[in-house]
Symmetry: none
Subunit: 215 residues, 4 copies
Amino acid sequence: MSNLKSKTPVKTRDAERSRAVILQAALEEFALFGLGGARIDRIAERSSLNKRLIYYYFSDKDQLFQAVLEAAYEKIRESEQKLNLQSLLPSAAIRKLVEFTWNYYLENPAFLSLLNSENLHKARHIEDSPNALTLNSPLIELLGEILEKGRASGEFRGGIDPVQLYVSIAALSYFYLSNNATLSVIFGRDLMTPKAQSERLSHMCEVILGYVLRN
Amino acid sequence: MSNLKSKTPVKTRDAERSRAVILQAALEEFALFGLGGARIDRIAERSSLNKRLIYYYFSDKDQLFQAVLEAAYEKIRESEQKLNLQSLLPSAAIRKLVEFTWNYYLENPAFLSLLNSENLHKARHIEDSPNALTLNSPLIELLGEILEKGRASGEFRGGIDPVQLYVSIAALSYFYLSNNATLSVIFGRDLMTPKAQSERLSHMCEVILGYVLRN
Amino acid sequence: MSNLKSKTPVKTRDAERSRAVILQAALEEFALFGLGGARIDRIAERSSLNKRLIYYYFSDKDQLFQAVLEAAYEKIRESEQKLNLQSLLPSAAIRKLVEFTWNYYLENPAFLSLLNSENLHKARHIEDSPNALTLNSPLIELLGEILEKGRASGEFRGGIDPVQLYVSIAALSYFYLSNNATLSVIFGRDLMTPKAQSERLSHMCEVILGYVLRN
Amino acid sequence: MSNLKSKTPVKTRDAERSRAVILQAALEEFALFGLGGARIDRIAERSSLNKRLIYYYFSDKDQLFQAVLEAAYEKIRESEQKLNLQSLLPSAAIRKLVEFTWNYYLENPAFLSLLNSENLHKARHIEDSPNALTLNSPLIELLGEILEKGRASGEFRGGIDPVQLYVSIAALSYFYLSNNATLSVIFGRDLMTPKAQSERLSHMCEVILGYVLRN
DNA sequence: TATGAATGAGAATTCATTCAT
DNA sequence: TATGAATGAATTCTCATTCAT
């Protein structure tokens, strides 16, 4: 085992690795400071790589941001696909989606920050990102099937738009976590204590299930 | 009285007005580009005032941002207070709050953008903004009373945390509008058509009322 | 005399002066190194002014180059207008134009270098320089009149295109001076000694006058 | 012999060819952008060869420029030698030299651009180019003989310095073509139409022959 | 002979901020 | 109160060149 690792030393001249290291460093930097506030110099430092190399691989700041964004979207889509919602009962599936969304955002605050930046910039980076377009469709389709299954069994109410539901599920977690800093100040209470977190999760499940369930 | 005004022409030596003009220009600039992306030069242009004056009134970029933020919070609080929710039946009050939140965010996109920036910066500007702290309390208190009144009358379920509810109401509108750009790209449909807007509002009312109402 | 100067001290905050100083420094730099080889830093040093100020007045390197070019053209046009060729006999006028051209180029090598740079860049800077277009017309017109006068008196041959003649007069001096460095190496003789210079001037007069004079 | 070549496919390990390809690519790049503006990266692209190889063959940008310049001089000298001026009558020889010069410059604009660059750099590259020095002598000598032959036959005037004449012949074509961009803008007419070209050639022949011919 | 990866020094340009009037 | 002029410190990006294979 350990000798396996020694057989593959951390190569210096490894394009794949360098690209990945830069992407990770850039993700952190963009998440912390936004697109405008991010500094290429700091990304170079973070990645312990030469600043020039960033331009070598990504041409400029915007294209770097785009690459980071694409990677972030791919990552969440992969996680979503591992959920296997189709194998669950409708209400369990919905609950699992709410929980997954919450946990994913909680563990990947950089993703939220990235999306905020991208929205500030009117989505211009994803717009010309070829694979972005079809990224969400599978989940929405699946959600549609779940809603239909639940409705057929009489468990769920009818007429629910899966996009609206998906947006609402995301919204409830996203807003709480993304705006946690200002909300905590304004309400004068720490919204990130373990207790607060579990209360939020319960609340969201109640809201969403209260909505989809027939009564 | 009226001749006082005619003696001081509109564009000169009117401190109050200059301050206000700068604040408005800064609001637009910060909303469009974020704190990091905003340019003092452009704020000067937007306000057709001298750049130096901005420093005269607001000392530096951060304090300017803070002033803009405070003004934005004040404005929404004022609007909230005009709602007169206490005079309505509980369910009508809740519905009205949902509608108000949606409409306010819709009409004041700069406010959302500002909050995103402030959250990116960990709320450091409101933190030392003396009046920010108590800003939300009245509404939360009122919401608590409404929930209690509804519960007492048997219309509402019990055990609802007004803060959670308030956050969720805000979340549903905020996320949809703030992230509209990326969502529209990803779902491949324009979320801001009049039809899409009214569908969203209906959906949100159903979600929130579905949650608070006993059955 | 000397107290005149003390009455107008070198003001620091003098926009006109700063602009002029930058233009002069830029002229020298561009002449020495071409557009691509010129360094904004060195222009700042040359002018003992802040680099930032260059951008303040001229926006970017290209616009600075354009401004320098325009100034250079204006200067030679002014000098040409002082020639008063119309008051001379045709052959004297032609000779004077040849001599003037030679001397002007000799004393303003930066002008030649600037034109070379501009031609390397396909004249893109003068192209959108509003006043450049009509700059040469007056002289060409005057030259046409001189040629006609000479022809009418039987002194000059007919059918001479003033533009062709003007270009040829310029060419004979320009090429010699602009390409002096390579020519001197290739011919193995210094083309800039006083003797060489006066020989060149004689030669050019003979060529041009030999061409325009009837016999 | 022939099978040796077939064993080495066209694109690999052919040092001679690679050198030549690089030289050609560099010629184009230097001609388009000058020495300062030329980019090693682009030369690599143009030659579809690796950037590293350029350094392998030519050490650095300056030496590459020097090699390009030498090749360009060699090429024009070769062409000049094919003219066989000695076999012509003096006036025909002069006319042919004017025409050749014009056509050569017309067909090799890169050569002109290269010389401009070299002059901007004070001829420092040819200076230490061993073969450059004697390059022009044969033609000048030949021109001297032609002039003498013409003078002896009474056709040409006497006292013409062949260097001056050669420079003037070059000047008339060079300036027109090299400065065509700015001249076209300033005179507001396209100097490169077929008609304009042939007019220029006629004019130059008249000027030069008008000068050398006795009357 | 050939090439992709990597880099330090430098270049243009930007930006918040201050000076002088 | 108002403003044009001036600046130092960054910041993005470029470029010739070298390293490792």
